[in-house]
């Protein structure tokens, strides 16, 4: 995969080329793909129980705000490296034939090391790797906790200098794995979760 070799090469050039780290703050709104899908019953069981049984049930984190903060280091012209810690607040929501109902509040906490390249004009593209964990009340899927998962994120957008500050707007997508001990006890398997959204960032004084 491209990302690991990319980071390795960045880290090798960092000591020689890095400038002073600067504070970076980012805010995003992220939506999420399905966390867990339960297809409930085999066709034979559905036939036995009749039409009163729903088709499937899905749980997903509703769209929510994410805040992250950390340090950005310009490595060389057009390339920067950021280390960020982020936190997203979301509501876990179940969707089935009976409708939608909120289950519990979630916090998704991540640490991310990402690099961003200037492409052409104000356009930038970036990629990052890190770790992500869930925090929630110990009920339902979260009764015995949830696995810590690697996180991979890609982004693209624009970066501008406004009154000496670097302002960026990006579209981003990231993926992590969701799995929990209780899910495995129930015979389930872990799977991937895609998050996507729009992010605004600022590096105070980053345009000087």
């Amino acid at each position: 995969m491209a990302a690991p070799s990319f980071f390795l090469s960045l880290l090798l050039v960092w000591p020689a080329a890095a400038q002073r780290p600067r504070l970076e703050v980012r805010a995003a709104v992220l939506a999420s793909s399905t966390l867990v899908e339960d297809v409930l019953a085999t066709p034979a069981l559905k036939a036995r129980l009749g039409p009163g049984l729903g088709e499937s049930l899905r749980a997903r984190a509703a769209a929510g705000p994410e805040l992250s903060a950390g340090a950005m280091v310009p490595l060389r012209p057009g390339v920067s490296l950021s280390g960020l810690v982020g936190w997203q607040q979301a509501t876990l929501r179940a969707e089935d034939a009976g409708g939608t109902r909120d289950l519990q509040e979630l916090a998704l906490v991540h640490a991310l090391l990402s690099a961003e390249f200037a492409l052409r004009g104000a356009l930038v593209a970036g990629a990052g790797v890190g770790m992500l964990g869930y925090r929630s009340d110990p009920v339902g899927l979260f009764t015995d906790g949830v696995d810590l998962s690697p996180l991979v994120r890609v982004s693209g957008g624009g970066r501008w200098v406004v009154r000496g500050h670097a302002i960026s707007v990006r579209a981003l997508a990231d993926v992590h794995r969701f799995g929990s001990p209780l899910l495995r006890i129930a015979g389930g398997s872990g799977g991937a979760v895609l998050r996507y959204g729009v992010q605004v960032g600022v590096v105070p004084g980053g345009g000087r």
Binding site: L45, L49, G98, L182, S189
Partner: protein, 221 residues
């Protein structure tokens, strides 16, 4: 490093997005759980319900504590099966707010039992349908206060002499409280209609209650 190499990474991200899944329950894992009416009907609490259980432990503190401990164990065992918050069993100290009464037989009851009396051996869950046959009758409070108890779980105190027996019986009865209105024919299941060997819901108990809570309810407590 060519930034265009990020494109394959993005494609990999999207390709890897098969979500976590629970496998479909096979026919053999789900035993009959519907009320023995004609035709059989699904009894369950509305999705997302908190089912409040009041423990009437009687005058003996040791017996009261044993019943409360059994409820805590049984509620925890069943709540772990509600992966999507379908229900939550919880103890309450307010009988006026209780949906379920858990009591020793022979002890004074905080609700009137005469119109829907418990009848069973070691343990029994009692409820009665209302006139419309789609709700459960409320057990009246003795002095006519408004109440909401719709199910009564009665345990025989003599079961205390067998270590570990009361938690097992209470957990089994809580399965009935959730709406499993029948018994399993498999001895390893918690809802087996015979000598119980486990206080934990089995794979089949889990599948049965999870499917029950995805059925359209026809009788709602």
């Amino acid at each position: 490093m060519n930034p265009c190499r990020l494109v394959p990474a993005a494609v990999l991200l999207l390709a890897a997005c098969e979500s976590a899944a629970l496998p479909p329950r096979p026919n053999a894992d789900v035993y009959e759980f519907r009320l023995q009416t004609q035709p059989p009907r699904v009894l369950r609490w509305p999705s997302g319900s908190t089912i409040r259980v009041y423990v009437a432990g009687g005058a003996d503190p040791a017996r009261a504590a044993a019943l409360a401990a059994a409820l805590a164990q049984g509620a925890s065992a069943w709540n772990r099966q509600a992966l999507f918050g379908e229900y939550r069993l919880a103890a309450t100290t307010d009988v006026d707010n209780a949906d379920v009464l858990l009591r020793w037989s022979g002890e004074a009851s905080p609700v009137e039992l005469a119109q829907c009396p418990p009848s069973g051996t070691a343990a029994v869950t009692t409820f009665c349908l209302d006139a419309a046959q789609n709700r459960l009758r409320v057990f009246p409070r003795p002095a006519g206060e408004p109440g909401r108890v719709r199910m009564v779980v009665t345990i025989l105190p003599s079961e205390l002499v067998i270590a570990g027996r009361v938690p097992l019986l209470v957990t089994h009865e809580l399965g009935h409280v959730l709406g499993i209105a029948r018994h399993s024919a498999e001895p390893r299941d918690l809802m087996y209609d015979g000598v119980l060997t486990t206080a934990e819901p089995s794979r089949r108990d889990r599948a049965t209650v999870q499917v029950l809570y995805q059925m359209q309810p026809e009788v709602v407590p």
